[in-house]
């Protein structure tokens, strides 16, 4: 079950303050990096919801993000419909597609689930790559950002857009927590722990899996909309399986099934990428080494490692307090 604890709140507050500070003080390049982190954070929150709390390790979340981006681009840039409607359409269409994928894949587990979602992702990639309406290999350009001038906000300004992405990431985190603490989210966790028993209790397991996968797809679609608005151009590469793979790396790096961990993972991944790519083109090698080190350490990612240390420290503190209390009682009895 998803539970907040003091450490999670503390990390969440620290990350939010750091992001806010960066958004308010950074120059253009720093704002671009922050925006990249925040969009990736939205995507990995979507992935952690199904992989970390439902055992559904998806390799199609990159493609779902791409679907969201393309639907937004088609509806807003090609059809000329207002961006808010285009955003809602993109999120809804991605949700429906994800729900169908979740329903079809709900009976498969482990490696078979991974392969099935990979196949769906690659089908989407191939279709978008080949269909002329999506611009083929050239992609689509001329994508506009949301117009918030009514509120005196110009999202074409990098700082405003970074703050907007921060607000969206915060809202998505809240929505993810609400989902995981809802009846649906509780049932999903029950299914991950013991699918057979949940079925024997009367739960329609495939429906729960499909519903949460659909919700997760909506969030991935939203990440795609942000990505499209950020760069104002999209290409089929957004749907590539490598995007899904990177998202999975980020979730594992940060801490699977913690929600907070993937946020750390997103920041670590993007910062590592930019810092190391300044020195060498082979930044993937370094990220790979870091990932191997994290996995081999046996901890559940960076945050999992920190949480385990914190838990151990708390236990020792409680044991010390109990011992001290017992000693005081012995002295007072004497």
């Amino acid at each position: 079950m998803f539970r907040h604890n003091a450490l999670r709140y503390a990390v969440l507050v620290a990350l939010s303050l750091a992001a806010l500070f960066q958004a308010l003080t950074a120059e253009y390049f720093g704002l671009e990096i922050l925006t990249e982190i925040l969009i990736l954070a939205v995507l990995v929150l979507a992935l952690d919801m199904v992989a970390g709390f439902g055992g559904q390790v998806s390799l199609c979340h990159g493609a779902l993000m791409g679907v969201g981006a393309y639907v937004y681009a088609l509806v807003s840039a090609k059809a000329g419909i207002a961006p808010p409607v285009a955003m809602a359409s993109a999120v809804a269409v991605t949700g429906v597609i994800a729900w169908v994928i979740g329903a079809i894949c709900s009976r498969s587990h482990g490696i078979y689930f991974i392969m099935a979602t990979l196949a769906f992702g690659q089908m989407a990639y191939a279709y978008v790559f080949e269909a002329p309406v999506f611009g083929g290999d050239d992609g689509l350009s001329g994508i506009s950002r949301l117009d918030l001038s009514l509120f005196g906000i110009d999202l074409d300004d990098s700082r405003s857009f970074a703050l907007f992405c921060l607000a969206v990431a915060g809202a998505v985190y809240g929505a993810s927590v609400m989902t995981l603490q809802s009846g649906l989210g509780r049932s999903l966790t029950g299914v991950m722990h013991n699918e057979q028993r949940m079925r024997a209790l009367g739960l329609t397991v495939w429906r729960v899996k499909a519903d949460v996968f659909g919700l997760s797809g909506m969030i991935a679609g939203l990440a795609g909309v942000l990505a499209a608005q950020h760069v104002m151009y999209i290409s089929p590469g957004l749907l590539s399986w490598t995007v899904s793979g990177e998202a999975l790396v980020v979730v594992i790096l940060g801490g699977l099934g913690t929600l907070v961990g993937p946020l750390i993972g997103a920041a670590a991944f993007v910062l590592l990428k930019h810092e190391i790519s300044a020195w060498t083109d082979h930044w993937h090698l370094v990220v790979g080494v870091v990932l191997i080190a994290v996995v081999m350490s046996g901890a559940n990612g960076i945050f999992g490692w920190a949480e385990a240390r914190w838990g151990g420290w708390l236990e020792r503190r409680m044991a010390d307090a109990t011992r001290k209390h017992e000693q005081e009682e012995v002295v007072s009895d004497a």
């Binding site: 009846g183 649906l184 049932s187 028993r197 209790l201 009367g202 397991v205």
Partner: protein, 247 residues
């Protein structure tokens, strides 16, 4: 309340259930006896829908449920506990019971509210925890409680769906004599209108709890009657009770 008609099941050349017909009245407590490999658990799996019979039918409260999947049978009031603990290991006792109660109360798929905070879920959890003596462990994780308490929780999770019929597969499997005695009280204290079908090897418990006893041998019903008749059955002694009587 629960009825099987000519239930038959084979795995290849092995005939595991042969023409089994049973009829349990509402509130009846029936114990199924039989040596290892007699087909008791296979029969349970067909009753709840985890296995599909080759022929025959299963009826619950007068309705033919043979074609229904596991979850839909459970929602109609057919619940089971397992011979091996099938719990939610990373969760607390309360959370285990809450998951079951949430499904029963229709809160398990709701997105806008936390099923665990619903008063109707709390009510069931508190009542079941009291029934199966789990109150002292309610906030403990499954990994922190003893094997015997886990057996109680196994029954509790099944009870938290408020079933019409409860199938219990060796509830005292692996527990010591002291704990087994506790199970006598636990079973005898369950509501009288709950229909119970129990697979059990503990003869004392079987004769203490059962209104009727059914004996399976090689997948076939070889005895069906009251406990006293079972005690005096020569056939039963030959195939099953000899070792018990000798002991």
């Amino acid at each position: 309340m629960l009825e099987t008609r000519n239930l038959d099941k084979s795995f290849g050349a092995v005939h595991v259930t042969r023409d089994v017909s049973l009829k349990l009245e509402r509130g009846e407590r029936r114990v199924i006896l039989g040596p290892n490999g007699a087909g008791k658990t296979t029969l349970f799996n067909q009753l709840v829908g985890e296995l599909t019979p080759d022929s025959g039918s299963v009826h619950l409260a007068g309705e033919d449920v043979t074609a229904l999947p596991v979850a839909r049978r459970a929602r109609r009031g057919l619940s089971r506990s397992y011979q091996k603990n099938t719990l939610f290991d990373g969760l607390t006792v309360e959370e285990n019971l809450s998951l079951a109660a949430a499904v029963h109360t229709g809160n398990a798929s709701q997105l806008w509210s936390d099923s665990f905070t619903k008063p109707e879920v709390h009510e069931i959890v508190a009542e079941v925890a009291e029934q199966v003596n789990l109150m002292p462990y309610i906030h403990a994780r499954v990994s922190e409680i003893s094997y015997g308490v886990r057996r109680q929780l196994e029954v509790g999770v099944a009870l938290a769906t408020r079933p019409l019929v409860l199938l219990m597969d060796e509830p005292t499997s692996g527990v010591g004599p002291e704990m087994s005695k506790g199970f006598h009280d636990l079973l005898n204290n369950l509501p009288r209108d709950l229909t119970l079908l129990i697979i059990e090897h503990d003869m004392d418990l079987a004769f203490d709890v059962a209104d009727t006893i059914t004996v399976l041998n090689y997948g076939e019903v070889v005895f069906d009657g009251v406990p006293e008749a079972a005690r005096n059955s020569k056939l039963l002694k030959e195939i099953y009770l000899g070792s018990w009587e000798d002991a």
